[in-house]
């Protein structure tokens, strides 16, 4: 809505700080995502990861943001997270020959009879499902940010129905 558009000025402080922070934020996001032993969880971790990407996109613009998170990779992550979660449910049914219910996790690991339940269940909940949730949340939020941040001068011309 502003009448004259300001030039995109590059700010060294912001860019350098973002470059420094970006990997750290992602690392922290991964730590929270997998750290179900503490207060972590998939959703929290995924949100932190998405926040890191959104910071990067805000500072460096869409084009460079797309380089970091291409659309195809984003769509893959979105589905992959849910494949991990949903697939765990199917595998539970398949491995137990339809005697266990959907997502009845001890049935997941065929060897759980020998090594005990902890392997399958903590692996599933702590890693497979949490990582699945985290990937989906991250990819969805980043994708929403990409799509909702629109430029007026681009869209007003060709955007009519």
């Amino acid at each position: 809505m502003t009448p004259e558009r300001r030039e995109n000025k590059r700010d060294v402080i912001i860019e350098v700080t973002t470059n420094l922070m970006f990997p750290l934020i992602l690392l922290f996001g991964l730590y929270v995502m997998i750290g179900t032993g503490g207060t972590g969880g998939g959703f929290q971790g995924g949100t932190i990861l998405a926040a890191g990407f959104i910071l990067y996109i805000t500072v460096f613009g869409h084009e460079k943001g797309r380089e970091k998170m291409p659309e195809s990779i984003n769509a893959l992550f979105k589905s992959l997270g849910l494949f991990l979660y949903n697939g765990a449910g199917w595998i539970c049914i398949l491995f137990s020959m339809a005697t266990a219910q959907w997502l009845n996790m001890p049935a997941f690991w065929p060897v759980s009879d020998f090594v005990g339940v902890p392997v399958s269940r903590s692996f599933l909940v702590g890693y497979m499902i949490s990582v699945g949730i985290g990937l989906t949340v991250m990819a969805s939020f980043v994708s929403q940010y990409f799509d909702l941040a629109w430029k007026e001068e681009d869209e007003m011309g060709g955007g009519g129905e």
């Binding site: 503490g38 207060t39 959703f43 799509d147 909702l148 629109w150 869209e155 007003m156 129905e161």
Partner: protein
């Protein structure tokens, strides 16, 4: 009278705070004619509601009881909790409302997308002006 006030208001102040915010949010959702403000009102409504449900799981009413000090702790299980006299908060409201927050975030995203489309189409997000423009478009036969 005093007892009535204590029983209905002071013991349940979490409910009243949440209800106050809920009323603000719901009223804003209905009254405001700006689409974005409506959405903000809806978010306030949902968040206040989550606040109340999470506060339902609180278990720390009596700090001092006859058998000693009792303090609330988050439901992350640790060995010494029972020895030290901590009790766990109820995890189920947190579980439910974590889900609810996600749902409200997704709703907000879709609603924002629709608001942006409306802005691209009509150049405004005030409901009155949009209705006027619709009528004008109709007279001109544009739409």
């Amino acid at each position: 009278m005093m007892e009535w006030i204590v029983q209905h208001f002071l013991e349940k102040y979490n409910f009243w705070i949440a209800m106050f915010i809920i009323i603000i949010g719901l009223t804003a959702t209905i009254v405001k004619k700006n689409f974005l403000k409506k959405l903000i009102g809806l978010s306030i409504f949902q968040t206040a509601f989550f606040l109340w449900v999470v506060s339902l799981g609180d278990v720390g009413r009596d700090i001092l009881t006859s058998w000693g000090l009792k303090t609330q702790t988050p439901p992350i299980l640790w060995m010494q909790a029972a020895e030290k006299g901590y009790i766990y908060a109820n995890p189920l409201p947190h579980v439910l409302m974590l889900t609810g927050i996600v749902v409200s975030a997704a709703t907000t995203a879709v609603a924002l997308a629709i608001v942006i489309r409306i802005y691209q189409k009509y150049g405004t997000i005030e409901e009155d002006e949009i209705i006027e423009k619709e009528m004008e478009f109709e007279r001109r036969g544009v739409l």
